[in-house]
């Protein structure tokens, strides 16, 4: 089209038809919400031992002698809820980290938060420790402390003389911290005996078998706080994904948004890792899958990723419990083995 000095004509009556954000958002949340609810309803009913829902919910049988109810309410339901919570936290933290770092390859673990958490957990598992903090048992407490330490180090390094964080420094500091903590983890494992190393390695593979609702109740407030902060950020993240100067010129407080994004995404990641270990792949594969389906607008990608992350992890854990039953596959292995090829297939199909 030639642009000259003449005034533009009135808008044509036939405008490009992209549905407005409201209907796209409503449709996306309804779709992904239905998937998440369906997976959370289905997963507790499926397992290595088959249970009767009618019997499990029969209040005439005392709970102590109702095996079906015990399996449902003590073994499976907490596990499904933990899966939903961890999946939602990791997937949405992935979205926020990718926007903060302006890098679609970032994961919740890129900045070293999970390596810090893992080191904390390793130390307690191998050296032993009995310090329980409130509802947190020693391993999650140490893992939260490790995650907080890692986040504090990265934050201090990236917050130099300029008020706006350097994403390059953040990335390099994160990568270095990951390597450093991994070396420490290996060193601690090297000093330990075989049984302890097995427990430690098993923790690193991720496990949603939380055993009761208590650990979930402990992690929930942290994830809810992160979620409330996430909910205020998508527009600013959209603009920062274009260019941080342009974002500032459109009224975004870039330095403050970066700090809130870093804090909230680190908080969600720390809580998720403390609850279930460092379950990989969700934080990167779920946001990308969602973008392939609904586009890149963070106002849609963020809630859709949270819902789909929950679905993805609940289903993965269901498969982990049942595929080789009665043997259980660590859920972190399942997420990568199922998610990896599926993601590659989608990429190839798109290209």
């Amino acid at each position: 089209m030639i642009v000259d000095g003449t005034a533009p004509a009135a808008l044509p009556s036939q405008l490009p038809q992209s549905p407005p954000i409201r209907s796209r958002l409503a449709l996306t949340i309804a779709g992904f919400g239905a998937l998440a609810i369906a997976s959370c309803v289905l997963a507790p009913l499926v397992g290595s031992s088959s249970i009767s829902l009618r019997r499990a919910l029969d209040s005439s049988i005392p709970f102590a002698s109702n095996v079906d109810a015990q399996i449902l309410f003590i073994a499976r339901l907490p596990r499904v809820l933990a899966g939903a919570l961890v999946g939602a936290a990791l997937a949405s933290a992935g979205v926020v980290f990718q926007a903060l770092l302006r890098n679609p390859l970032a994961t919740p673990f890129t900045l070293g938060v999970s390596a810090g958490a893992s080191l904390g957990a390793m130390l307690v598992i191998i050296l032993g420790g009995t310090l329980a903090v409130g509802p947190l048992s020693p391993v999650p407490a140490a893992s939260l402390a490790g995650a907080g330490l890692a986040a504090a180090i990265v934050y201090a390094l990236a917050n130099g003389p300029r008020r706006v964080m350097s994403t390059t420094v953040l990335l390099l500091a994160g990568v270095t911290l990951n390597a450093f903590f991994s070396a420490l983890i290996l060193f601690v494992q090297y000093l330990a005996d075989v049984a302890e190393v097995y427990r430690a390695t098993r923790w690193l593979m991720g496990d949603l078998d939380v055993g009761s609702f208590t650990p979930i109740v402990a992690a929930l407030p942290l994830i809810v706080i992160a979620g409330i902060i996430f909910a205020r950020m998508p527009s600013a993240l959209n603009l920062m994904g274009v260019d941080s100067d342009s974002a500032a010129a459109r009224g975004v407080d870039v330095a403050a948004t970066q700090r809130w994004a870093f804090f909230s995404a680190s908080l969600a990641t720390s809580a998720a890792v403390a609850l279930a270990g460092p379950i990989g792949f969700i934080g990167i594969v779920v946001p990308h899958l969602v973008r392939l389906l609904v586009g890149v607008d963070h106002r849609i990608v963020l809630p859709a990723s949270a819902l789909f992350g929950a679905t993805f992890l609940v289903i993965s854990d269901m498969l982990a419990r049942t595929l080789l039953a009665p043997v259980e596959i660590p859920v972190g292995i399942v997420t990568a083995i199922i998610g990896g090829p599926f993601f590659l297939w989608l990429l190839v199909r798109e290209a």
């Binding site: 089209m1 030639i2 642009v3 000259d4 000095g5 003449t6 005034a7 533009p8 004509a9 808008l11 044509p12 405008l15 490009p16 992209s18 407005p20 954000i21 409201r22 958002l25 990718q98 926007a99 302006r102 890098n103 679609p104 003389p161 300029r162 909910a231 205020r232 527009s235 600013a236 959209n238 603009l239 994904g241 274009v242 260019d243 100067d245 342009s246 500032a248 010129a249 459109r250 009224g251 975004v252 407080d253 973008r291 586009g295 890149v296 607008d297 106002r299």
Partner: protein
């Protein structure tokens, strides 16, 4: 009346290590009239971009103030300032694959609350902005699939969707071929004339500046050498002072503006 004014603004980028911080802009005072088209000329590294960023409120001056209609920009909430001043950078490289329409709709950000979704009114403004930059047919195309000229026009549309009184442009035609340069130039001239938008444009293209700008400001090593009407400022002496280049400056009848022909570099 002067609308956007930089009063003795200075800025120095912090240096790493033991090096001393180098001043990028030193005590520059520049007053821009409402509805005028001002060109910002000077060699690489003379502080054009830094001055533009301070006038946009993106960078806070180390000393001095920027005022918009008499109010200090630093005292305004960012969102409020962004309703008046928009910026068109030289290049835009989004990290995600936004569509052209999504990029333009982001221009509505300062007019919406942080969690408010854009409504039909915002969509109409976005469509009008695309229309006036000749990019309406590109609305649903991914931004990264567009050519350089198309991208720059979409970015200008995004700035227009902000409905600003002032548009600050940082070498908006630098990455474009000759045809696209003239296209964007004509677009900017028309917007300045019809929408009464005050324009400040940093550029290396002296002929483009001569064809578009009412006034020129000359910057060298972070200091303002001269600010005046294009006819007064754009002289052979000025070109020598700025670029160490001997040039021939003539009035060109067919184009109706001054033209600059570089002859040789001095020294």
């Amino acid at each position: 009346m002067s609308y956007l004014v930089a009063h003795e603004v200075s800025y120095a980028y912090p240096r790493r290590g033991r090096a001393v911080a180098m001043p990028a802009v030193s005590e520059v005072t520049l007053a821009v009239e409402r509805g005028s088209f001002t060109g910002l000329l000077g060699p690489n590294g003379c502080g054009k971009t830094t001055l533009l960023k301070m006038m946009a409120g993106i960078l806070r001056p180390a000393s001095g103030t920027v005022t918009l209609a008499g109010r200090a920009l630093a005292d305004m909430p960012r969102r409020v300032a962004a309703r008046h001043v928009a910026v068109v950078p030289q290049d835009t490289h989004p990290a995600f694959d936004y569509t052209a329409l999504e990029i333009v709709l982001m221009g509505r950000h300062p007019h919406l609350r942080p969690t408010q979704l854009e409504g039909p009114g915002d969509l109409t403004i976005a469509h009008q902005s695309l229309q006036s930059t000749g990019t309406l047919h590109l609305a649903d195309r991914p931004f990264t699939s567009l050519s350089g000229g198309e991208r720059q026009r979409v970015v200008i549309a995004s700035a227009l969707a902000q409905q600003p009184d002032v548009l600050l442009l940082d070498e908006p035609t630098a990455s474009l071929d000759l045809g696209r340069q003239l296209e964007v130039a004509a677009l900017l001239r028309r917007l300045s004339r019809e929408n009464d938008v005050t324009m400040v444009m940093a550029t290396h293209d002296l002929n483009l500046a001569a064809s578009m700008c009412d006034t020129l400001a000359l910057l060298r090593q972070g200091r303002l050498l001269h600010h005046g009407s294009t006819a007064d400022v754009l002289t052979e002496t000025a070109v020598r002072q700025l670029y160490d280049v001997e040039a021939d400056v003539q009035f060109h009848q067919a184009s109706g503006h001054l033209t600059v022909t570089p002859v040789r570099r001095i020294g």
